[in-house]
């Protein structure tokens, strides 16, 4: 049976992390996707990058200006809480993006030189084997997807030695971007290219420094064939962001939520997803990226919702047996 995980956002709180981890355990999860990106969120990164004002140490946006020992001290209760509840922190999300196009150079340098390596240190401290990153969304700016990848690869090269030293696998995730407000394919939406690139990087470092995070919601937005994509990536697929949407917005909802016909059959190809899992004999953790669900439901129902998500995880995972 596959282990099931879920985002810590909206469950684990800094003032009493052990409570949240205990809740996850009682809801049927054995793993967690640690939402490190909550400590420097996407909107803040873009706003900061474009405001041309560098966040000095001590500023509310400068969480990662703390030293590694300070960060470790900050996350020590989280580590203890997870351990006490028997929850493994299986994966985490590095704050993203780590580069703001046309953004302030100092801020970009901060993201690259401070936030990224410190994220790896936190990941290591929490004994988490996988960290998910976002590739750079630059294809339209640079003229070609290949040029975009070169920039992402430069970033990976910058952090791969440390990842190797700490025994962490960096996982790049399939993304979307916007054309006139509509969501279209972004970095890492070509499974064949991704597989070749992962192999090349790992060969270069003689270690599993790079893997893939398959995001079902992002894939659904751009009509990617789940089964084919997963099967192509095969063993390189290390972690998941399982969630659902209507094929239009990145809603991060519970699988099997959306339909488009009167027959009310799911409009997301969850059967293809199950076949994909079976094809690659996936044996790691099925992790849900469904924090927005917990924001939508009343707090009183949080545990029930978590239980339901975990149950769906077990159903999806049964495909592998």
């Amino acid at each position: 049976m596959l282990d099931i995980g879920v985002q810590t956002k909206n469950v684990i709180y800094d003032d009493c992390p052990e409570e949240g981890f205990a809740l996850l355990a009682s809801a049927g999860f054995s793993c967690a996707d640690f939402s490190l990106n909550s400590y420097l969120n996407n909107t803040t990164i873009y706003n900061q990058g474009r405001s041309l004002t560098y966040a000095p140490a001590g500023h509310e946006h400068a969480f990662f200006s703390q030293s590694v020992p300070e960060l470790e001290r900050f996350f020590a209760p989280h580590k203890r809480g997870a351990r006490a509840a028997g929850i493994m922190i299986h994966q985490m999300h590095m704050p993203y993006p780590v580069y703001v196009p046309r953004g302030d150079a100092k801020w970009n340098a901060y993201l690259w030189n401070e936030v990224a390596p410190k994220s790896l240190h936190v990941c290591h401290f929490l004994e988490c084997p996988y960290i998910v990153i976002h590739g750079f969304k630059l294809a339209r700016r640079l003229g070609a997807e290949e040029a975009e990848w070169e920039r992402t690869q430069t970033f990976i090269d910058a952090i791969a030695p440390l990842a190797k030293e700490l025994g962490i696998t960096i996982c790049m995730e399939n993304l979307y971007e916007s054309v006139g407000g509509r969501l279209v394919e972004g970095p890492c939406c070509d499974a064949k290219k991704a597989a070749e690139r992962i192999d090349r990087v790992n060969e270069k470092y003689h270690a599993q420094v790079l893997g893939f995070c398959f995001d079902t919601g992002h894939a659904n937005l751009v009509g990617i064939d789940f089964e084919k994509f997963m099967t192509t990536l095969d063993y390189r697929l290390k972690v998941f962001h399982v969630h659902d949407n209507d094929g239009i917005g990145d809603l991060h909802q519970i699988p099997f939520t959306f339909t488009r016909t009167r027959e009310n059959m799911p409009s997301t190809d969850w059967e293809g997803f199950r076949r994909g899992l079976a094809n690659i004999k996936f044996d790691k953790v099925l992790s849900f990226e469904t924090a927005p669900v917990l924001a939508a439901f009343p707090d009183e129902m949080k545990e029930d919702v978590l239980r339901f998500i975990a149950r769906i995880g077990r159903y999806l995972g049964e495909a592998v047996q």
């Binding site: 294809a139 339209r140 700016r141 640079l142 003229g143 070609a144 997807e145 040029a147 979307y176 916007s178 054309v179 006139g180 407000g181 509509r182 969501l183 279209v184 394919e185 939406c189 070509d190 064949k192 659904n220 937005l221 751009v222 009509g223 990617i224 064939d225 094929g247 239009i248 959306f258 339909t259 488009r260 016909t261 027959e263 059959m265 799911p266 409009s267 997301t268 190809d269 293809g272």
Partner: protein, 427 residues
């Protein structure tokens, strides 16, 4: 590049002459026939006769996709025979390209490659006999109402399959009909390849590549629904791309709307820049099929004629945009007219590769100054140019300036530069 207009929704079976004459009046010369609309031989002959009477060529055709039309599977053999009949019909009416359904993949659960290859090779033999290029097309797959990437939505895979099929089709390429026997309703105008240049010269690069048995037809509507990067899609296909179905939709449901219909608060929601720049970069010289039956059908009757004129302008616009680089490369020397933003963009994006001798402007205050490294001259200086030096107008008032140049008695080629869809990479 040949702009071709879909007659679907415009020309009907009962009175094909009416629709055909309206299309002809709008200036349409090339049309695409959808065989699922006109399957009966007699109807087909009648429709073709009307096209011929109105001076229009059938430059492309679409074979019926029984799976899509009937919503149920039919046998490989049936689809093969149906498609073979379409190929022969194309041969008969002198239509050079046929878009065919991805038939064998649909009836074999996971795309049995042996069945697929055998089916296509069988069609290839008939296509060669009839001098037809078979065009594979990207298609959506329906997941309970959600359209996702289906057959041939992976451009690289499609390119590999096309290469394999063309290699398998043998060293003898499809023979272009040059004997003047265009079939019952065909005249000399029917003897064209899918690219306009190929049709004119019969020897151009476009014509040569058109001789391949298999090519690709990119359906922009499908790419749009699947949120695909059209620039990358086009690049992956390269010269295998022989036709583009130009249509817009809302990115969710199937529709054939005129381009730029899918608008939102932030502008167009369809990646036209990716498509136009992609086609430019591969020097596309195939057939662009404007498919807008849904837009046309909702037009009030009294506006339909004008709408067709507009659709014709849309086709001309794409031809102009896609062919921009080709036009720049056509001339040994060139000058610009205009010393504003468009000139600046010309110099930024094309100045290195296609350097102008100078620019000129009607604004006297700019004469003998320098702009973007160019001397700005009095337009009168244009009279000193050798006749073959092209004048590229870099100003949105193309018509007025062109008239001014003609009034000056200039016989130099006059071209219109436009900076609406600039190449990627230098933003």
């Amino acid at each position: 590049m040949n702009v071709v207009y879909s007659s679907k929704g415009i020309v009907n079976i009962d009175s094909p002459g009416r629709g055909a004459s309206v299309m002809a009046r709008a200036g349409v010369e090339n049309i695409v026939m959808d065989f699922s609309t006109w399957w009966d031989d007699q109807i087909l002959d009648r429709v073709c006769a009307e096209f011929d009477k109105n001076g229009m060529c059938v430059s492309g055709a679409i074979a019926p996709d029984m799976w899509a039309n009937e919503g149920r599977a039919c046998s490989n053999e049936f689809l093969l025979r149906l498609t073979e009949k379409c190929i022969r019909t194309c041969g008969k009416i002198g239509c050079p390209g046929l878009i065919i359904p991805a038939f064998p993949i649909k009836v074999t659960s996971n795309g049995d490659s042996a069945v697929q290859a055998a089916g296509y090779q069988r069609l290839a033999a008939v296509a060669r006999e009839n001098g037809i290029t078979l065009l594979l097309k990207n298609e959506c797959k329906d997941v309970n109402g959600h359209l996702v990437r289906g057959t041939f939505c992976d451009a690289k895979e499609a390119a590999e399959l096309l290469d394999m099929l063309n290699a398998g089709a043998g060293a003898t390429p499809a023979v272009q009909r040059q004997d003047g026997k265009a079939g019952q309703s065909g005249g000399a105008k029917m003897q064209r390849t899918m690219s306009e240049q190929g049709g004119k010269t019969g020897q151009s690069r476009g014509a040569k590549t058109d001789l391949l048995t298999f090519g690709f037809c990119l359906d922009v509507g499908v790419c749009n629904i699947c949120g695909q990067n059209m620039y990358e899609f086009v690049q992956a296909l390269g010269s295998r791309l022989k036709a583009v179905v130009l249509r817009d939709n809302d990115g969710r449901a199937e529709a054939s709307l005129l381009p730029f219909a899918n608008a939102g608060a932030f502008g167009s929601r369809t990646d036209w820049r990716g498509l136009i720049c992609g086609l430019r970069d591969i020097d596309f010289d195939g057939m662009v099929i404007l498919s807008f039956s849904d837009s046309f059908c909702v037009m009030p009757g009294v506006l339909r004629t004008k709408y067709l004129d507009f659709a014709k302008s849309m086709g001309d616009y794409f031809k102009w945009q896609v062919g921009q680089r080709r036009v720049l490369a056509k001339y040994e020397s060139r000058v610009l007219f205009g010393a504003g933003n468009m000139c600046r963009n010309y110099m930024k994006y094309y100045g290195g590769e296609f350097p102008p001798l100078f620019t000129c402007d009607n604004n006297k205050r700019l004469w003998d100054t320098e702009f973007e490294g160019l001397v700005v001259k009095n337009p009168e200086e244009l009279k000193k140019l050798p006749r073959d030096c092209a004048i590229f107008i870099c100003n949105i008032y193309y018509g007025e300036i062109a008239e001014q140049l003609r009034d000056m008695g200039l016989e130099n080629p006059i071209e219109y530069f436009n900076d609406e869809y600039l190449p990627f990479g230098r933003d």
